[in-house]
């Protein structure tokens, strides 16, 4: 057993262990922990494949981003029903059907790949199985003296182990040379347009999230109902109160600006801004506003 095989066995088994434990665990935060184990081990597998950039992105995006958001969501909904999950009968059936179809999909995908051909490519760096023939002189090659030299790809640094960053960057701006089945070097399509579209999408999502999380503006006459607590993360009540006292009810805010500020800072300290701790409908905050 080589070192690589040993490490592959370790990372593959922890990936699977994490995934299985996510499904078996009842407690949401422990689930998040096992998800972290699974995702981090997948990043380890990417490192073993010398896809360093992808592995780092896996750590940053999935482990650093998604799990933080997951933990956020869990904590703000903690207590009561969501603390531990046990699916009902109908949910189990639906989940089983989904899992089965996913497994079928994966199996068909694995079965339809020409592994022999991929193996040949990996060993010789050529696309066709008859790769033994000497390559055409006209094919673009970097010189031997170049520090990022590689015999197969004209992309800068593509031959270096683990240097997927340069290749990804070139592909991003539209320079994606690849070997086709006839063993010719052709320029594939780049990823600039999809990337831009995704960026605009994310911007839209960001603006939408900011709109949703914004404090709700109240009508001057309406009382703040006990269940009007918005579900934004940290300071929803404070900002709502600021809004209503600033715009909706100027007389009150002028009469007690100091007290207003005091209660705001007390809220920040004691954390009544958290929606999970405001189950009491007559919290001091809403009482004061109304």
């Amino acid at each position: 057993m080589t070192v690589l095989q040993f490490l592959f066995a370790v990372f593959a088994s922890t990936t699977c262990l994490g995934a299985v434990m996510v499904a078996l665990t009842q407690n949401i935060v422990r689930m998040a922990f096992w998800l972290m184990v699974s995702v981090a081990s997948a990043a380890g597998l990417f490192f073993l494949l010398h896809a360093d950039f992808l592995a780092a992105a896996q750590l940053l995006v999935y482990l650093g981003g998604t799990v933080v958001i997951l933990v956020f969501g869990v904590m703000l909904t903690a207590g009561g029903r969501t603390r531990s999950l046990s699916p009902t009968g109908g949910e189990t059936i639906v989940a089983a059907a989904l899992a089965l179809s996913l497994i079928m999909l994966l199996l068909f995908t694995v079965g339809s790949v020409d592994w022999e051909r991929l193996n040949t490519i990996a060993k010789t760096g050529q696309v066709s199985p008859t790769a033994a023939q000497p390559k055409n002189e006209a094919e673009p090659q970097l010189t031997e003296s170049s520090p990022t030299g590689d015999e197969n790809s004209p992309v800068l640094g593509a031959g270096r182990k683990g240097d997927t960053g340069h290749a990804l960057g070139s592909a991003m701006i539209g320079f994606r040379p690849q070997w086709n089945r006839e063993n010719q070097l052709v320029l594939g399509t780049g990823y600039l347009l999809p990337f831009e579209i995704i960026s605009v999408h994310l911007l839209v999502v960001l603006i939408g999230a900011a709109y949703l999380a914004r404090a709700k503006r109240q009508l001057p006459s309406s009382r703040r109902s006990p269940d009007a607590t918005s579900t934004s993360l940290l300071w929803d009540q404070d900002s709502a109160q600021l809004d209503s006292s600033g715009s909706a009810n100027p007389a009150l805010s002028q009469s007690s600006p100091v007290r207003d500020d005091l209660s705001r800072s007390q809220n920040l300290v004691s954390g009544t801004g958290f929606s999970m701790f405001t189950s009491d409908p007559q919290s001091p905050n809403s009482g004061e506003v109304s």
Binding site: F33, P147, T148
Partner: protein
């Protein structure tokens, strides 16, 4: 794996003697042990330094009784005290996660050192996207803190960890943007390349002086770095005056000290990243190393084959310069902590979202336009010194694992490989 003088990694070197698997294991063990010393000893020193510096700033002496003149044994005494303490877990805690969380924070802050190069070729792992990876790992320490705060079953701990989560998620953005500015100036995501480019005289070659935008970016980066290691004035996660002790309220003994170990090690690692990206890495900035360059050829294959004594000596000098610069930045962090008052949580978020993110975006834009503007007006991409591209070409010889590129190997080295 660290590169020896003849272009072999330590792993290849050891494999030549001990076989593939044993060589790999030995190399991993050596790297881990060396890094663990940096990771564990430097916090002990910085905790002592923090006490002394805070004492001086507050016009008192700091620890003097333990260990002679400067109280230098104080950290050791504290360590012994913490080991003796009972390892408590509250009844309301989620026992399993509560015990696990300190290790998560510890592992995340240790892993950053894996990709940091301490001198030419002296890094446990030399990979091309090491800056990206380091930033990704720096942002992971928050996971241990969130889990610690949640599993404690305490209100104060939960508030602390929620604040830390909100703070970290926001401050990641300007941190990455500011780290991206020197990366863009060099055109590489590799720490080794970025540091090699900065050899020579500091005023022309260090990236902080590359253009006005990198100069400002350094200060923005440093501010954000202080926030990302939750130091005052951004230490809302443990704000003692509001939250008892924040996320580690319920911890005691060794598990409590793991959080502090992680915090002080993170202070060092973000400072190391700052030194590598802006302050010339392991170069002294005087050009002295260029004069000493012939030394690298001395003592080839001494004392064992595949090892060069002269090269080792110069690398050791570089590592000392590097750690000295990083320690200076840690001292500045301590200085800031004992000088500035703590911000409120809404002020912390305002500072980041309303000021630091727009500033770093503007810096990023300016830094990308700067070389274009200079080339149009002056016909050269830099005001002072040689263009980065020239230096980048020279640097790229040292900046990757020799197994991957065709670094010329000496016959002796080939023999060792066999």
């Amino acid at each position: 794996m660290a590169i020896l003088a003849t272009g072999l990694t330590l792993e290849q070197f050891l494999s030549g003697y001990a076989g593939e698997f044993t060589g790999f294991l030995l190399a991993v063990l050596i790297h881990t042990l060396l890094l663990f010393h940096v990771f564990a000893v430097s916090p002990a020193f910085f905790i002592w330094l923090e006490r002394k510096v805070s004492g001086r700033i507050q016009d008192r002496l700091g620890p003097t009784r333990v260990g002679g003149k400067f109280g230098w044994l104080q950290s050791v005494a504290d360590g012994i005290k913490l080991i003796q303490k009972e390892d408590l877990a509250p009844a309301a805690a989620d026992q399993w996660l509560f015990r696990l969380a300190p290790y998560l924070a510890l592992v995340a802050s240790f892993t950053v050192f894996m990709v940091l190069p301490f001198s030419r070729g002296w890094a446990a792992v030399i990979i091309e996207s090491s800056v990206f990876l380091a930033l990704a790992i720096i942002s992971l320490e928050v996971l241990g803190i969130i889990l610690a705060g949640w599993s404690s079953g305490s209100k104060w701990a939960l508030f602390g960890s929620m604040r830390e989560a909100a703070q970290m998620v926001s401050y990641e953005i300007p941190l990455a943007l500011c780290a991206l500015i020197p990366v863009m100036a060099v055109g590489s995501l590799n720490f080794v390349t970025i540091a090699e480019v900065q050899s020579g005289f500091f005023l022309t070659n260090w990236l902080i002086f590359h253009d006005p935008f990198t100069f400002v970016a350094f200060f923005v980066y440093f501010t954000v770095a202080i926030a990302s290691v939750k130091r005052a004035p951004f230490d809302l996660a443990e704000a003692e005056s509001e939250l008892v002790a924040g996320f580690h309220t319920e911890y005691s003994g060794m598990r409590w000290s793991y959080f502090f170990l992680a915090e002080y090690a993170s202070m060092l690692s973000v400072s190391c990243v700052a030194v590598l990206l802006f302050l010339g890495g392991w170069w002294s900035g005087t050009g002295l190393e260029d004069l000493l360059a012939p030394v690298r050829n001395w003592g080839q294959n001494f004392p064992v084959q595949g090892f060069s004594a002269g090269n080792y000596a110069l690398n050791l000098l570089g590592a000392h310069i590097f750690l000295f610069k990083a320690s200076l930045l840690v001292t500045v962090q301590i200085w800031v902590r004992w000088t500035l008052p703590r911000l409120r949580i809404d002020q912390v978020m305002t500072t980041c979202l309303k000021y630091l993110i727009p500033i770093s975006c503007a810096l990023f834009l300016g830094a990308s336009l700067w070389p274009l503007t200079l080339t149009t007006i002056l016909g050269r991409p830099m005001l002072l010194g040689r263009p980065v591209g020239d230096r980048l070409y020279e640097a790229s010889h040292y900046s990757s694992s020799p197994a991957a590129t065709n670094v010329t190997r000496t016959p002796a080295a080939e023999e060792v490989v066999r």
